[in-house]
């Protein structure tokens, strides 16, 4: 894999979206929508192979010298994120077609443009380009959100847009402050610059904007108020892609810009612990399937990010592993939960029940992913949580250790709530004899099941991913190769 191919990750989905709009044929758009993420997954796997030794792929766009050009950069962390994103885009597309999401001719092109922005955000090493890429991902997401067209989804689309517009405005203000104080917006050029108080403060403004996008407490309320109101396929796509850009950018910029042990450490610990607790308590109080899952995202973002400031490279490796595990498992849960919601026509827990009698495979898929989310062996969630706990012990931070364990119990409880409310028990609607039982299509259950099995596979055979996460953690904690390659190549 050559560095000069990196812009294609952004360009190809964009061109594919244009092609789909021009051709305007449903079979063509379905084929393209599956081929593009498949192709990206293969290319990104090649990028992982090329960077597995800690190397960095760089291309300076338009041949400007390093530091002046807008670079596309792939290190192991971004390559891994590319693979995971492409896989879950593929799964979500299959689900979207099974639920006839592409009745609207805008669905496939908009989803493709959104993925282009996401891939671009993973590959850019320039803060302004990050802003542009995030907007490229967000603009189609506003359209996807309002595709349903009913009043409640339009209302939440409006809230979603307002939150993101506010965050983007804050991001731009921080960007101006960074350019004014540091004279560059190249992330490699900003390496270690957080030690200068002015730059550190300017960067903190950007971190606030990113934290809003990642739904970290106290900027979390928008997520459970919006995500459950999009259609199930769209929520699955969003959960795996959009909040993850925020998390990815937080990881990238905190590790690059700030020295370990700076004030940011305290802030990260406080907000991540608060996220864990608030998210899981919120999940216990929610009354809809996707509402519970949305609150879990907040809790899990806490788990992901806490490793950033624990035990150096060990902690950052835990971040990388947890982020990958979480993206897979959460999308799987949203897909299985969405399948139930699509079949039964409601996501309200009190109006659901007895799904286990009706379809055992979707039940199995949901519970495999739910157990993984809770962190029990032999699933990827076990290794992810183990990594966080090890990092907590490694830095002798027993508060994080205790909170991470206790919150796991809450996660288990809210998953049991979904289990008893949705899957076991009796279907409260069976009293109506005229309710026709819609047959379950295999393609509606398969995507969630496939991702749950990925989590199981990682859990049974974790060495390769643990090793990759370790390498990624090392190069994130010691970004000298990254900086050197981006600035001089």
């Amino acid at each position: 894999m050559n560095g000069s191919l990196l812009p294609l990750f952004f360009a190809l989905p964009l061109l594919a979206a244009v092609a789909v709009l021009v051709v305007n044929n449903r079979n063509f758009s379905r084929t393209v929508a599956l081929l593009v993420p498949a192709g990206v997954a293969v290319a990104a796997t090649a990028a992982v192979a090329a960077t597995a030794d800690g190397g960095v792929l760089v291309t300076q766009v338009a041949g400007w010298p390093g530091g002046f050009a807008i670079p596309y950069v792939a290190d192991l962390f971004s390559s891994l994120m590319l693979v995971v994103s492409a896989v879950l885009v593929f799964a979500s597309m299959v689900f979207a077609f099974a639920t006839n999401q592409d009745e609207s001719r805008w669905f496939v092109p908009m989803a493709l443009i959104m993925t282009a922005g996401v891939y671009g955000a993973y590959l850019t090493a320039d803060l302004f380009n990050l802003f542009v890429m995030v907007e490229v991902a967000l603009l189609p997401s506003y359209v996807l959100f309002s595709l349903r067209g009913d009043r409640s989804s339009l209302r939440s689309a409006r809230l979603y847009l307002i939150v993101n517009l506010t965050a983007s405005t804050i991001f731009l203000a921080g960007l101006g402050a960074i350019y004014g104080s540091a004279g560059t917006v190249n992330l490699a050029g900003l390496a270690g610059a957080g030690a200068v108080p002015v730059i550190g403060f300017a960067m903190a403004v950007i971190l606030i904007a990113l934290a809003v996008k990642a739904a970290v407490v106290p900027a979390h309320n928008w997520l459970p108020a919006t995500y459950p109101y999009a259609s199930p396929a769209v929520t699955a796509l969003f959960s795996g892609l959009l909040t993850k850009i925020g998390v990815y950018a937080l990881v990238r910029s905190i590790t690059l810009v700030y020295e370990p042990g700076s004030t940011v450490t305290v802030v990260v610990i406080v907000v991540t612990l608060a996220s864990m607790v608030v998210g899981v308590l919120g999940a216990l109080g929610e009354g809809t399937v996707r509402g519970v899952l949305s609150f879990h995202m907040i809790s899990q973002v806490g788990y992901i990010l806490v490793g950033l400031v624990l035990a150096g490279a060990l902690g950052v490796a835990a971040v990388v592993f947890y982020l990958i595990h979480h993206t897979v498992v959460k999308t799987s849960l949203f897909l299985s939960g969405g399948a139930v919601e699509h079949q039964r026509g409601t996501g309200t827990i009190s109006r659901l029940g007895g799904v286990a009698n009706e379809h055992r495979w979707v039940t199995l898929a949901f519970f495999l992913a739910a157990i993984s989310l809770t962190g029990l062996p032999p699933f990827s969630g076990f290794w992810a949580k183990l990594g966080v706990l090890q990092a907590a012990i490694g830095s002798a931070n027993y508060l994080v250790f205790a909170v991470a364990l206790v919150v796991s119990v809450g996660t288990l409880m809210s998953m049991l709530k979904l289990g008893t409310g949705v899957f076991w028990g009796r279907d409260p609607n069976t009293a109506e004899p005229d309710a026709p039982a819609t047959p379950w299509r295999a393609s509606i259950v398969l995507p969630g099941m496939a991702l749950a099995l990925v989590s199981l596979a990682i859990g049974l055979y974790p060495e390769p991913l643990l090793e990759l996460a370790g390498t990624a953690g090392d190069s994130l904690t010691d970004p000298s190769t990254y900086v050197e390659q981006v600035l001089t190549r």
């Binding site: 506003y142 405005t169 731009l172």
Partner: protein, 115 residues
């Protein structure tokens, strides 16, 4: 200093309008906030250098404007404009015609939450 004051006024007015909520105020608030941020970015390039940044024999770095923030702002304006227009459409769809109420939201819940 002029720019700092302008940013402060724009940001304060924008924040006030956005938090007041309701269709038109929301849009106008975000437009003002976007202007405030655009000024911050322009100021980041140093507002005291005003010469056109075109490479020539007489180019003097001390007096030439920094073109990069201008490019930033141009991009930011386009993006924020696009998003704001979409927000305008969403607001129009989610609030029924409010000309008779002169911009008061028709949603009783929203009315309760207002100061």
């Amino acid at each position: 200093m002029t720019i700092a004051i302008a940013v402060a006024v724009l940001a304060a007015a924008g924040t006030w309008l956005v938090t007041r909520g309701g269709g038109t105020r929301l849009i106008l608030g975000f437009i003002l906030l976007a202007h405030a941020v655009n000024l911050i970015i322009i100021a980041a390039g140093g507002a005291f250098r005003r010469e056109a940044p075109i490479v020539s024999d007489t180019l003097d770095p001390a007096t030439t404007a920094d073109p990069l923030p201008q490019a930033f702002v141009l991009t930011a304006i386009v993006i924020t404009f696009g998003v704001t227009v979409y927000l305008l459409a969403l607001v129009a769809r989610t609030e029924s015609d409010s000309t008779t109420h002169l911009g008061e939201p028709d949603d009783p819940e929203a009315a309760v939450n207002r100061p």
